[in-house]
Symmetry: C2
């Protein structure tokens, strides 16, 4: 069985671990979001790719959800002693080795997809991990107003009356506390899917969308030219990132609010637009979404969606896969 | 008093510490060798500049002579786990922070001299530290033969029957055990002295040459266009790196042998060529150098030259300075 999974960070990584446990024989291809990638101290950091790779490869900091288990912060502290910033992005020493190796290979001319393959040779995540694109795509955040920014006491890049910041600056540094009015996936329209991405979609039996951030994780992947179109031709089942009207993890509601999308199971599904989702797995608390008029044509199924343990997560992955296989026929 | 000091690594750094202790009021400008610079994992490493900076700034690993005190090897071990090489060059985590910050600033377009100034703002070495040039100069080593290389069991770059390796590969990886027949200071002739270098020579009351490697430290600096000429117009006193016919530290004899220069106090002084040295401080064991015909015109003085303690090192620096001031008149 071939399963293709567009993936963000922590939620996707845990979902994938559950999926692997449920269907160990499946060929799973992961299309990772790279819109969160950022250059720090000259190092190319790919947070979502690394979270998937470390989680499935057994190196993740389980409590934190990202970064390496047992990591130290020697290099980062020392950079701070030089007055070199930013200090708001956590980079452990073990993690820095990954970024050094990645950056070194990118500088030598390897595309990100090839670099990711090399890094995965060590981690053996048990899935094929592809970046959504080898081109540079960066998610930027449009801030509501200079007023909001001033209240948060942070400085940002400005241009023509609009304040824009890199996604990581908004998400990590500002804690998404400054109201946003939109997101710009800079470069996405011009970007080509990485080698293997469109094939992995076309050849998949089913596509499963984990409970990643619908705007800045899944949304970014769908913004890459050709990916959404390819997915609309397939059986796609998504797992709602909402439980009882609030995001399970992270601050997805801040992203949804910026776009005027309700932080509800129905709101998120509708946000993906017509023709993409065939099935939508919602939490039992949100089963009323099945009656939402905007979800006409989408098969909604309610199960417990809280990934409280590896077993619970595996059950969610199984439910998503079962629904997809039923719809695939 | 203005003193300018062309400097290599460990020996120069210790000499400079002694000099600072002896003449705390002096304005000391250090012209650092950058021919040993190497790019590792995409990081620009400047071993000699860092050894001077860390030693005078109080951060050096005293026992080792280079690198940072109390450093760890987390990043390097992790890079090895990725199979990323080379593993033969020791880079600690604290040290890597320096290289990351340097590389980041170089990538942003700052010249090495400005980058060095920024790094020194933290370390406050108490001297003005200038790289010999902002241009790229790399010391390469011509190996005696493929035979020597094969016996050493190492692979090297080859070209047209001659084997050439980066200085660090020969020095660190091969331990200078493969016979060399010459050195190429690639880029030196085309390189311009860094801003301030020629001025620091012209405006100096005296120039002191510490007991650095005469071939690959001092020799590299002298190879940069214009530096040797500027120095010949000044009062220059050198400290012999030889004690009793052998180098005090390091493997300078391997470098001298490659050029057919005797590893003797007289041999090294003669190697610098006519007109450069006005005074030559030799060890008491080597006082016969005063009678060497090839040192005619150079004032030779014998003192104990073993830098066995900070006090002994300060006394050597004082003796060199006294001789220079006498000759300067």
């Amino acid at each position: 069985m071939r399963i293709t999974v567009p993936a963000g960070g922590v939620g996707a990584a845990r979902f994938l671990r559950g999926l692997k446990a449920e269907v160990p024989g499946a060929e799973i291809t992961v299309i990772g979001n790279t819109g969160d990638d950022i250059t720090l101290f000259g190092l190319h950091v790919s947070p979502d790719l690394d979270t998937v790779m470390y989680t499935l490869g057994g190196g993740i900091d389980e409590e934190q959800g990202w970064g390496r288990a047992g990591d130290s912060r020697t290099v980062l502290s020392e950079l701070a002693a030089y007055g070199a910033g930013p200090g708001w992005f956590g980079l452990g020493d073990l993690d820095i080795a990954t970024h050094l190796h990645r950056t070194s290979m990118l500088s030598a001319g390897l595309p990100l997809s090839a670099v990711t393959t090399v890094l995965c040779q060590r981690w053996q995540p048990g899935v094929r991990l592809l970046p959504m694109t080898d081109d540079r795509v960066e998610t930027h955040v449009v801030l509501a107003s200079d007023e909001g920014e001033r209240r948060a006491g942070v400085g940002t890049e400005r241009g023509g009356g609009t304040s824009m910041v890199h996604f990581q600056e908004w998400w990590v540094r500002m804690g998404a506390q400054v109201p946003a009015t939109g997101f710009v996936f800079a470069g996405a329209e011009q970007a080509s899917p990485a080698p293997g991405v469109l094939e992995a979609i076309a050849e998949a039996d089913v596509i499963l969308m984990p409970p990643s951030n619908p705007v800045v994780s899944i949304g970014t992947i769908l913004a890459v030219s050709g990916i959404a179109e390819a997915m609309r031709a397939k059986t796609v089942v998504g797992v709602s990132p909402i439980i009882g009207g609030a995001p399970v993890r992270g601050m997805a509601d801040k992203c949804l609010a910026a776009l005027g999308v309700a932080a509800s199971a129905a709101g998120v599904a509708a946000h993906y637009g017509p023709g993409l989702l065939d099935g939508w797995l919602v939490d039992e608390q949100d089963k009323a979404a099945a009656d939402a008029p905007e979800l006409a044509g989408i098969t909604v199924r309610a199960v417990p969606l809280y990934m409280s343990s590896p077993a619970a997560t595996a059950a969610i992955a199984r439910a998503a896969l079962d629904l997809a296989l039923e719809l695939h026929g």
